[in-house]
Every structure is written in structure tokens, then in C-alpha cells.
Symmetry: C2
Subunit: 164 residues, 2 copies
Amino acid sequence: MPLRSDWSEDLCPVRRGLDVLGDPWIMLIMREVLHGRCRFDEIRDSIGISDAVLSRRLRLLVDEELLRKVEYRADRRTHFEYVATDAGADLLPIMHAVSIWAEKHTRMPEGGAHMAVIHETCGAETTTADVCSECGDVLRPGDVSWDKPWKATRERLVGAAQPS
Amino acid sequence: MPLRSDWSEDLCPVRRGLDVLGDPWIMLIMREVLHGRCRFDEIRDSIGISDAVLSRRLRLLVDEELLRKVEYRADRRTHFEYVATDAGADLLPIMHAVSIWAEKHTRMPEGGAHMAVIHETCGAETTTADVCSECGDVLRPGDVSWDKPWKATRERLVGAAQPS
DNA sequence: TTCCTGACTTTCTTGAGGAAAGTTGCCTGG
DNA sequence: CCAGGCAACTTTCCTCAAGAAAGTCAGGAA
């Protein structure tokens, strides 16, 4: 439904999933939100998307209930931010799977390094997508950090917002 | 590199992965190949892609070494078929992750049903993406069947071709 | 020789992507 | 009280990809 063909009525779940996820920006936007970068300009600047496209994608993601748009007040101004719903937070295994695949099968560019996914609950690095390879627990955004040596950061992800 | 922006030099593996996988057709084509539908016209007819786009995508997938194009003779004619490389076969966890997500978070259309992924090695259905939730083995295409009740099929996937 | 088929390539129109500039409403400083 | 910023979009314009349909080409088959 979002871009070209509408596959939301397809019987095969892979196709129904790709109806939403088969766009390169969707996953990047969701990744930023799960990293706590939730404002329009933060997302735009960190992934390098044009205003027009970001605006369209955010509307789509709210329609599809992967994000929820909420107002909040900071420094005496009203801002908007986009927070993940349960459906949005559940994209984490797909991101892990993509990341595992890319580390194995794409060429690591100059200055790159291995990105470790740390399951903070048990402290170990996990090498599988949806359950921790060390302790077997389901991986949820709030329990996981992404360690990016090339940026010298280790960021704990943020999970789904509680439904208001 | 494939469509619009080139993200193949990005330091983040998620972005490098999406450089190739962030297109709805790529995953569908690879799914057909892993199901043993390897010829141009088989792929076209089963996923409903236009000739021009399929041709471009197949060239891309061969360039990126997810597929290999091979000649074979059948019924006294020479045909071409596209077979998965190791990198192509390793997309399986991503497909599983997409399918698990879609079954949980998209509306099941009229006439649909749950698609079970069966790990034939142990005989159980697996509910995780990359290792069998029952026995813990790594899931490889040759050991997995997709059971689609709405088509009354249970197809064993085909793995990577041996490098020639 | 002509027909058919597999595997594309070409043509054409519509619509999405990307860059840049314009818009709107809230808020602050002078 | 007015000018200026800023956040969050929307508009405009140009180029290029998607999708539909028709054309191409080579190897058998009738």
C-alpha cells in the first residue's frame, strides 16, 4: 500500500511484511527511533533523508502503527516526537538479521569495524537475531545495546512506549 | 549502489545491508529461487514482476553475488537458471524474521492461514529466525520447509549451489 | 519455412526521489 | 511590539525508476 503495489492483502506473510518494510528508508527511520533519536530534524540529519520523503514516511509509519506521534514540552516549547509502538519495536530481529548478513557478506569499508549487539541483561554479545545466543532470552530493544567501535559509542536502545 | 543512493561504503552494517536488500523485489526474487523456481519466466509469473524490472534485478543480484547464472540443458534446449550463492542462501533468517513480524503485526487477509516453518532435521516447527527454536541448530535452506496451508503445499527449500 | 518459446530489451507514461526554497506557528530578544 | 529563529513540514522542479505492452533474437519443433 505505501509505495507502488499494494501487497497488504497477500496471503504470504513475507509479501505482506515487505509491503511495509520493502523500502530502504523505513528501516533506517525505525533504527533511529529505537536509538532514541525521535525528532524530525534529528532523524533527517542522522540518516540524510530529504524533508519531503521523511515527512511522507513518518505519516505512513504512523498510519501503519509502527510509530506514534506525541507532543512533549521541552525548553518552554512544544515539540513532536515519534515513538515506537510494539509493532515498531518488534522490528529489532529484522535489523539484527540484516546486520548479521551484511557483516558476513558485504565488504567492510575503510575505517569500519564489527558492530557488537550486547544483551545487557546477561552481559554477553549475541550472534543471533531474535533470542540471545548466550542466555536464550528474547531480545527486546530496552535490553540491548549496539556497540559501534567506529563511533566509539555503545547505545542502549529504547523500547516501545506504553500505550497512553 | 543498486537503486538510488549508494550505501555500500557506509560504516553501519544495517545500512550496507539495506543498500542491497532495501528493495521489495530483491527479497521476493530470492524467496522464489530458494523455493526452486529459478527460471526467468517462473520467477516473473510467480511474483508478478515486469520483465524489465526482473531483468535489471537479476543482473544486480548476479553482480552482488547473491545469485549465479548457470546454463543447463532440458528437453533438448539450453535454458538459464539462477541459483543462490552462500550469500543468497544466508538471506533465510531475514525472510523468517520478516515473516514472523508480519504474522504478528499485519492483518491476516481473508483465506489466509499461519505459515509454519518446519525444521525437517528435527521435525519441529521453529518460531525463531536463525536457529531452530526446538533443537537449536542453525537453520539452512536445505533443512527447512515452508508449510503454506492456503496453497496446501509444504515445500523444502533449496540451499546454495556448490561453487563450480 | 514458419511457428513457438525463453529471455530479454525497448518504448512510453506516470509517479517517486532528491535538492532547495517556501510556509506556518510558537517563542525569545531587543 | 516587532524582527528573527527554529521546528516541522509542504511546494516546486527536474530526473530517473516502475509498470505495462510491444519488439527483438536465437534455438528447436512441425
